[in-house]
Symmetry: C2
Subunit: 661 residues, 2 copies
Amino acid sequence: MTPPEDKRYRITLHPSGHTFEATAGESLLKSAREAGIHINASCGGSGVCGKCRVIVRQGELGQGLSEKLTKDQIAAGFRQACTGIVNSDLTIEIPTEAGKLIGGLSTQVPEIHRARLKKDDIEELRREGIFQPPVIKLFVELPRPSAVDNMADAKRLIQGLHNQYDERNLVISLSGLKKLRRVLREDDFRVTATIARPVRPGFGKNFLINIQSGNWTNRCYGLVVDIGTTSIYAQLVNTDTGKILAGAGDYNGQISYGEDVITRIIHAETPSGLARMAELAVSTVNTLIHQLLAETGIGPEEITSITLAGNTTMTHLFMGLEPHSIRRAPYVPVTTFFPPIRANDLGIDLPPHCVALFFPAISSYVGGDIVAGVMGAGLYRTQALTLYIDIGTNAEIVIGNREWLVCAACSAGPAFEGGGITHGMRAAKGAIKDFSINPESFEPMNITIDNQPALGICGSGLLIIVAALLNHGVIDPNGKFNQNLPTTRIRQGRSGYEYVLAEEEENGTDHDIVINEVDIENLIRAKAAIFAGVKTLVEEVGLTIGDLEQIILAGAFGSYIDLDAAMTVGLLPEVPAEKVLYVGNGSLMGGRMSELSNHIRRDVVEVVNRMTSFELSEVTNFKDQYIASLFLPHTDLELFPQTALRLNAWRTKTQTTPKKT
Amino acid sequence: MTPPEDKRYRITLHPSGHTFEATAGESLLKSAREAGIHINASCGGSGVCGKCRVIVRQGELGQGLSEKLTKDQIAAGFRQACTGIVNSDLTIEIPTEAGKLIGGLSTQVPEIHRARLKKDDIEELRREGIFQPPVIKLFVELPRPSAVDNMADAKRLIQGLHNQYDERNLVISLSGLKKLRRVLREDDFRVTATIARPVRPGFGKNFLINIQSGNWTNRCYGLVVDIGTTSIYAQLVNTDTGKILAGAGDYNGQISYGEDVITRIIHAETPSGLARMAELAVSTVNTLIHQLLAETGIGPEEITSITLAGNTTMTHLFMGLEPHSIRRAPYVPVTTFFPPIRANDLGIDLPPHCVALFFPAISSYVGGDIVAGVMGAGLYRTQALTLYIDIGTNAEIVIGNREWLVCAACSAGPAFEGGGITHGMRAAKGAIKDFSINPESFEPMNITIDNQPALGICGSGLLIIVAALLNHGVIDPNGKFNQNLPTTRIRQGRSGYEYVLAEEEENGTDHDIVINEVDIENLIRAKAAIFAGVKTLVEEVGLTIGDLEQIILAGAFGSYIDLDAAMTVGLLPEVPAEKVLYVGNGSLMGGRMSELSNHIRRDVVEVVNRMTSFELSEVTNFKDQYIASLFLPHTDLELFPQTALRLNAWRTKTQTTPKKT
C-alpha cells in the first residue's frame, strides 16, 4: 500500500522557478518544510487553521480540500498544503499571506538535516573476518555403535565433530546429555549440534548446548533485547545470515512504579520490591519473545542465545541485583560486568540451553546500553575521533576512537523529552515536531506528528523552534524575546515573554500553545550541561572540540534531531552534517553485533576496561564550561563559526529593518 | 567405653607353650582364629553348641560361662571360648575334643591375612604439592568507596583479591552478586571470598562463588558421596585440613525397585521411571547431607563443593540420563564424562553456589566409582605394576601404573555377596564370616558376624570355607568332596555331597547349614571369571600374572577378604600379603582426593582418556582363560606356587593317613 520509498516528484515554485523534491504520498507541507520552504501553518498540519493554502498551477495535488476554501478558490486551484498529498510533479504558487516572497523566491529557512542512519554492516563484519556468531550449528553423520565400537554416545558425537570439523574442547551440557541417546537414534545418528563458543578462543570450553536429529544448520536464531527505562524492545535475528526477522516493543512493565530510574530504585529498596521489579521487566521480555516467535513461526527451542543491554539500573533490576547504591553518592553499582546466565534462571521463557549475555556497563550512569551502542557502531574500531551521544533525561557521552575512549553521563533534565516545558509533551500524536518561521511576518509553520491538531511541543520540535527563533532574531543569545518585532505572536505571558505557536482555536487543546522564556531557559540549561560535558571530556584528554571528526547519535531523540538546529542552539558541536550518523537503538544494534560476532563479546571486555569514566561533578573545569554554555549557541562563538556567521548576517539585516513605532 | 584399639594380651597354650596375642575385649575364639589356632565351634560363636570349651589355667577370662558347663567344670576352669572375653594375659588348654593337638601344638590353620588399609595420605599430597583444594577461601579488607574511588562493588572485590593474593580471571557468580552490596557493608568491607578454581589453571575463569562478611577462612567444607547400587555413603570433609568430620550411609532409595542395576534400568525405561529413580537417589543423598550437617553443626551455606562417584548406571540415573543402552549390547552409556553441574539443579539441598562434580566413567560397566578408586589410591601415580579390583556381582579390574592403565568388568555372579549359594546370605548378623577346620576330626570352627547363632554364609566366609576345605583335602581341585574322610560332616545332600557347617540345633535356623558341591561350583565359576579377567588383561599388554607387584582391593568385600584363602582358591594372584592394600570405599576415597586436590580433577580426565577398556567377551583369549581357571586354584599350578606347595604337602600327608574301612 505504501509507495516505494524512493519515488520522488519535482515541485516548482511559481514565479521564482525554484524547485524542490517531494516524496510521493507525503504532504506538500511536510515536503516543503524539509526542503526549507516556509509555508505558514499554525495548526500543525491538520487542516484546521487553513493558513497553508497554495495555488496549484500545474499537475494535480491529491486531497488538500477543506471548508476553509470557497468553491471559487478551489476552482482557481487553491489547496491546503498540509492535507495535500503529492502524487505527481507540480508547479505551485505560495500566496503572500501564506509565505511572503523575498526577492521573488519563497521565504527560505534552513533545510532539515537529519543524521544518516548507520545500518548494520554485516558485509563489513564478514570482510573483517569477525562475522563469527558465538553460537553455531554443525551437522554430522556418525557411525552406528557396534560390539567393537561401543564408545559412549557423548564421545561418539564429540569425536564426530572433531573428525569432521576439527572441533576441540567440547563439553555437552546436562540438558544436551539428557536427550542425547534418543536424538542420536531418531535419525540414524545424523544430528545437528549447537555449539556455544567461549568468548576467547582457546580460553574455556566449547559448550555443546543442544542436539537435534537431522540437519537444522540453516535455522540459527538469536534474540536481542534493549531494556529501556520506558520501553523494552526485542528483535529476533537469524544468526546465520545476520538478518532481523522480526521486532517488537512494549512499555517496560515497571513503568507503573515511576518513570525514571530513581523511583524504580526506591521501590526496589522496599521488601520484595526488587523481586517485583525484576519480575515485571522479565515478564515484558517474555511477552515480546512470545510475540516474536508467534510472528515468525520459530519454536522457542530453536533460539540459541539472547543478548540484553540496558542502563545500569535496568540491568541490576532485571538480574535482581541491589541497586541501592546507584542513587546515593558516591554512586556505586553492584557490578559493571555481568556473568553469562542461563536465561531460564532469570525467568526468561527460553529453553535451558539458552544463555543470556548482558552488555557490561561503565558506571552507575553509563550503562550497558551505551556500551552496546559503542560496540555496535564500531566506535572502538574507528580511526576518526568520534563523539557518541545518547540524549535523554540523562545524556551519556563517549568520546574517542580505536586508541582511547572516555565517557561521562550528565543530567540534562527532561527538556529533550518534552518535560519541564510549559506545553512540552512526549513525541506522540499532535506534538509539534517541526517548525519554521516566516522571516518577515514571524508567522509559524508547525508540523505535528501524524498531522494531528497541535497538542504541545516534543523534544526535537523544541530544539527546532528555539533554533528558528534565534536564527530569525526573535530571541537573543540569552534566550530573551525581542519585544520590538512587528508581530502579535510575541506577548507577555504568565512566565515572562512568550511566542504563540498555535492559538486555541487552531490547536487541539483548550489553550494557546506557546513557548516562553522559562522554557527556553530550561532548554539552554539542558544543552549547556551536555555541551559542557562534551567539551570537558575533550579537554580532559588534551584535545579541543574542533578535533571531533564524527558524531554518532543514539536513542529515540537522535533520530528526529535536526542537526542544524542542534548546532545552532549549541547542543552539538559544529561538524559537517554528513559526518553525523544515527544508529537508532544503540542497545539493539550492539546486541545484534554480539549475536553475530564473538569478537565483539571478547572486545567489549577490553573496551570497557580501558574506557575512562569521568564523574563530571568531580572535574573542576566542568562548572566553568557549563556556565560558558548558558548562551545560544555559546559565549565563545568561535566554537560555532557557521552559526556565528548566520546570526551575524541576520543581525545586520534586522538592524536595517525599520522598527515598529 | 571401647578399650583402646591397640591394647593386646598374651595367650599361652598349655602344654605346648605356644603363644599368641589377643585384643582386649575380644572373644577368645575370635582371637584364636585370627592367630590360626583352631577351636571347634559349630554355632558360630554364639555360645549355643558348647563345643569350644577351653580350660583357663592362669589369668581370668571374662564371661565364657553357660548352661553347657557343669559346676564342676566351671570350678575346674572350663570356659567357652566363644563368649569368653579376653581381659588379661592367660594360659589356656584346648581339650582334645575341642581342638586336637598335633605334635604338642594346638592344631594350627592359616592365620587370617587381611589387606592393610591404605589411609588418605594428606601429607603425601602436601609433599607432592598437589594439596590444592579446588575451592578456597580468601579474606580481604577493602578500601571504602568514595567520590574519587567509586568503582563497582564487584570490581572493588576483584581488585582487592588481585592486589592481596594476585588472583586473576575472577568472575563473580550471580548468587554472589545478589548479596554483594549487603555483605560488603556488613563488616565495613572486610569479607571472605570463596573461589572455585578451574580444573586447569589458566584455562577458564576463577569463579567467585560466595561472599561472606568477616573472616571465615578456617571454615571450608566439602561433601563426598558414593552412590552405590545398594547403599549411598556420604562424608563431610574439611577441605582446609583434609580431615573427615563426619560420615553417614543409608540404603539407596531406589532399592525398592530391585537390587541390581538391570532392574533399575528397566524401571527407568517406564514413563516417569527415570525421574523417579533420580528423585529417590537424590532424596537419599539429601537425607545424608542433613544428617552430616546436623551432626557437625555446619550450615548448608558453608558447603562449597560436592564430589560424587557411582557406577555408570547409578550416575546416569542420578543425573536423569537415559540408561537404556547400558543394558543392551553393545552396552553404550550416554556419556562417560559428566559436566560440572550446580548441585541445586539436580535437586540436591545445597546452596546455589555449590557445584557438583561427578567422577567420569570408563564404560557402561567400569564406572566413576572405579575411576575414583584408581585416582584416590594413586594407581595412576605409582611405579609398581598394580592390580586394582573391586569385587561384587560385577568385578571391575584395573591394571597398570603411572605409564599405562587397562580395565575390564566381568560378571562374577552374586556368590561373593552370598547370592546363589544354598545357605548364602549378605554379610549381616549371624553370617559365618570366618572358619577353620580341625585337620584330623574335620570339625568346624565357625565365627559369625556379631557372634550370633549361625544363619548362613556370607561371601568372605564362603571363600575361607572353600579354601579350608581344599587345604585340608576335604575337597579336591575340582571342588568335589573326598568321601573317604573319617567324619560324618560330609554327607550326600539334595545337591550332591555337602559338608555340614552347623547342625540345626546349633544354629539359628530350622535346618542344618551346609555347603554343597553346587555352591562350590558357583564359587569356582565366580573366581574363575575374575581371575581369567585379570590374566587376560595382563596378557593383552604382553605381561604375565607374575609381573604384578601390588594388589589394591576396594569395596566392602575387599575389607573382609582373607588373602590366603583368596589366593588358595585362585581368586587373587599370589603376591606377598604385605603387597596387598585395602582402600575401603574407593568412591569416597577418590571423592575426598578430588575435594582436596584440583590436580586430581585435572588428571582424572587424562587418566580416563588413556585407560584402555577391554570388553572381555570380545577378547578370544578370555574364554580359554576362564576354562583354565575352573579349578582350585587353577589348572596351571605354576601360577600359585605357594598354594601348590601347601596342597602337595597335605596330599602327601593324607595319603599316609589310614583310610576308613
